[in-house]
């Protein structure tokens, strides 16, 4: 024990950091801030350190070459001892890190921590969020599979929409005219050197400000922030009611960080690594590209946005959102901190969360995408065929063969791009069915040139039978009734 002590003293006599470390550890924090609500920031930091450690391990084997990357991922998964586990921890760690950073942001927003004098701490935090998402996207690219390839295609297509210089931006992003060797190396440089460097730098500034300005006090409803008096009040509170950061607040941070890392390890061990999916070969077009979960909401917006608004929303929306977050503390930098008296703030978080969850759900089910194999994989429900005439059965065949099923569900199976057709005959008359099939419209292609008159007649005959047994098909009120077949 004495030996350890004297060794440490030897080092500190030269390093001169002991005092700084002791002061940081002992610095008083408001006793109520040593709360379980205040653990997300340190949790994100712990996950970042985990990412650095596992990332370095992966870089020992991974080959950042468009030709070799996919094979090196296979080696990591299947040949390199425990390579699968390190990949899994890195992948799950990134998912956890994005989630914890978002929770941290929601918490400091609801607790008014961005108000005077911590405006800049919040702004640097916004930069850290952007940088973290940058890590997530570039990391997804390094998992160089089909999803990575076509994800780059989506990024490229968005960048190509920039007016005037879009084409040049695409070239700089890709490092050339197509997604190829130089694209992967530049995303490797971003993921491994540039963005981690930014992350470390901004985390340093963020932490420095947290230490120098003091951690946000636990907000009390009615205790308003006033620039004239706040600093003095805070210092008074810390002097009267402060507890040392270590161990009173630190032990909760420690428990939460440990639990997070344990959770990452359990997920990694149980669920394994993410991908890689199919090989990054653009000639294999039998693929359904999907982004990782934290970008599914953008994927949904790209599908659901009216086309006329899309370019604007994709190019101007994200910068505007980031700008709004950056300017928030300048706009609402004083006044009430407690979420109990900030209903709008609570609603913003609730709506943002619900919106995010809804869009993510849509993104994972993608009801706007045709189900590419529905026409050949799904049977026509038997009730639509039994006891029907030959022409109706032929119509059912046309319905399948012409891929109608890819966009229209029958019996709850098939595409969801267009309306389900189980009761289409109650909505459209025979003439309207003909018109819709031949001319399309309402976001449906026209099939006039693709169907022979016989096929069209059969198809409409089939569609006319699609109505519940107790509900008659729609009819044209201007025509005399004809007996229902």
């Amino acid at each position: 024990m004495r030996l350890i002590r004297s060794t440490l003293d030897w080092f500190d006599a030269r390093l001169k950091v002991g005092t700084a470390i002791r002061e940081t550890a002992d610095h008083p924090v408001p006793s109520r801030s040593a709360s379980w609500w205040y653990v997300f920031g340190s949790g994100a930091l712990a996950l970042f350190l985990l990412q650095v450690a596992t990332g370095i391990c992966l870089a020992l084997v991974y080959v950042p070459s468009a030709d070799e990357a996919y094979r090196s991922l296979q080696v990591l998964n299947h040949e390199q001892a425990l390579g699968w586990f390190v990949r899994a921890v890195h992948g799950w760690g990134s998912n956890f890190m994005v989630a914890v950073v978002l929770f941290h942001m929601a918490q400091v927003f609801l607790f008014g921590a961005y108000k005077y004098p911590r405006e800049l701490t919040w702004m640097v935090g916004v930069v850290l969020l952007v940088v973290t998402l940058g890590m997530a996207f570039t990391g997804q690219v390094l998992r160089f599979d089909q999803d990575a390839y076509w994800g780059l295609g989506i990024l490229t297509s968005i960048a190509g929409r920039v007016p005037v210089i879009g084409g040049r931006i695409v070239q700089i992003l890709l490092g050339g005219p197509i997604i190829a060797g130089e694209t992967l190396t530049r995303f490797f440089a971003l993921h491994v050197f540039v963005i981690p460097g930014l992350l470390i730098g901004f985390v340093g500034v963020h932490l420095w400000m947290v230490l120098k300005l003091g951690i946000n006090e636990y907000p009390m409803p009615g205790r308003l922030v006033d620039k004239e008096t706040y600093v003095a009040e805070y210092e008074e509170m810390v002097r009267k009611d402060g507890v040392p950061f270590v161990p009173v607040a630190f032990r909760k941070d420690l428990v939460f960080s440990g639990a997070l890392i344990a959770a990452v390890i359990v997920c990694a061990a149980v669920f394994g690594p993410f991908g890689p999916g199919g090989a990054p070969d653009p000639t294999i077009i039998q693929t359904v590209p999907r982004p990782d979960y934290f970008f599914l909401w953008i994927f949904s917006i790209a599908a659901l946005m009216p086309p006329s608004l899309e370019t604007f929303a994709l190019l101007v929306g994200p910068p505007l959102a980031i700008l709004a977050l950056l300017l928030l503390p300048l706009w609402a930098g004083v006044g009430e901190k407690s979420w109990r008296r900030r209903p709008v703030a609570v609603l913003v978080v609730v709506f943002a969360g619900l919106g995010w969850a809804t869009l993510t759900h849509f993104g994972s089910t993608a009801p706007w995408s045709p189900v590419m194999d529905a026409w050949s994989a799904l049977p026509v429900p038997a009730k639509h065929l039994q006891g029907r005439s030959a022409v109706v059965r032929l119509g059912a065949l046309v319905f399948q063969n012409k891929q109608c099923r890819d966009c229209h569900a029958l019996g709850d199976a098939g595409g969801r791009r267009g309306p389900a057709l189980d009761d289409v005959a109650t909505r459209l008359t025979k003439d309207q069915l003909f018109r819709q099939v031949l001319q399309g419209g309402g976001n449906m292609p026209a099939y006039g040139t693709n169907l022979s008159p016989a096929e069209t007649t059969a198809l409409v005959a089939f569609l006319e039978t699609l109505h519940p047994a107790n509900e008659p098909p729609a009819r044209d009120a201007s025509q005399p009734t004809t007996p229902v077949r």
Binding site: S65, A66, D67, E68, Y149, W150, G153, T156, S157, I158, A159, G160, V162, G166, G167, R168, V170, Q171, I172, L174, G176, P177, I178, I179, A180, G181, E182, T183, A279, P280, D281, P282, T283, I285, T287, V288, P289, F299, A302, A303, P307, E310, T311, W368, S369, P370, M372, N401, K402, Q403, C404, Q439, G440, G441, M444, P445, A446, Y447, T449, N450
Partner: protein, 179 residues
């Protein structure tokens, strides 16, 4: 009151000046290096004629996939430089060659000969056989390559991923009829 110029203050100023010059001499080539993919010469040189094969490999009235090796490649490009395209032969020497990249966000469109449609798996874009937009979010029809026939072989002018910022073909008519 200005401080008198001494040898020491001059040395400091000279030091700052020297570093500024050296910094500039380093920054200019680095910026040039970083922006080099967007140089006009390189962008214009990217598009060249590549061969897709014998004309007879593409039956009239049908749509077939063809692949080509991207003309400008690096030795480590691997499979990523193998680029697919859709070839539609409309007459003895009339063709339409479409990029596989959806005009919406670049996902690969698939050809369905039964319904004569190109369908995109990402956001549900649909195109007719002639490449014009049929449904979904795409803002225009499929991107087309310029083509020519030499010695009975089909050639296209290719080498760049088509986006709304880089419309590859000169003959593409943006206002193609939609349904």
């Amino acid at each position: 009151m200005t401080a008198p110029v001494t040898r020491r203050s001059l040395l400091l100023k000279f030091g700052i000046f020297l570093n500024a010059v050296a910094g500039l001499a380093l920054a200019i080539p680095i910026v040039g290096y970083l922006l080099s993919p967007a140089r006009r010469k390189r962008m214009e040189g990217a598009l060249t004629w590549v061969e897709l094969g014998e004309v007879s490999a593409f039956p009239e009235g049908q749509v077939r996939m063809a692949t080509f090796r991207n003309p400008s490649t690096r030795p480590w490009d691997g499979q990523t430089a193998d680029i697919p395209c859709w070839v539609r032969r409309t007459g003895p020497s009339e063709f339409q060659v479409f990029a596989v990249n959806c005009a919406h966000l670049g996902c690969p469109v698939r050809w369905f000969p039964q319904s004569n449609l190109f369908l995109c798996p990402c956001h549900g874009g649909a195109y007719y056989a002639d490449g014009s937009r049929a449904a979904g979010p795409p803002p225009r029809g499929l991107f087309r390559y310029d083509y020519k026939i030499e010695n009975g072989r089909l050639q296209i002018k290719a080498g760049m991923m088509p986006t709304l910022g880089n419309v590859i073909a000169s003959r593409t008519t943006p206002g193609e009829p939609c349904a």
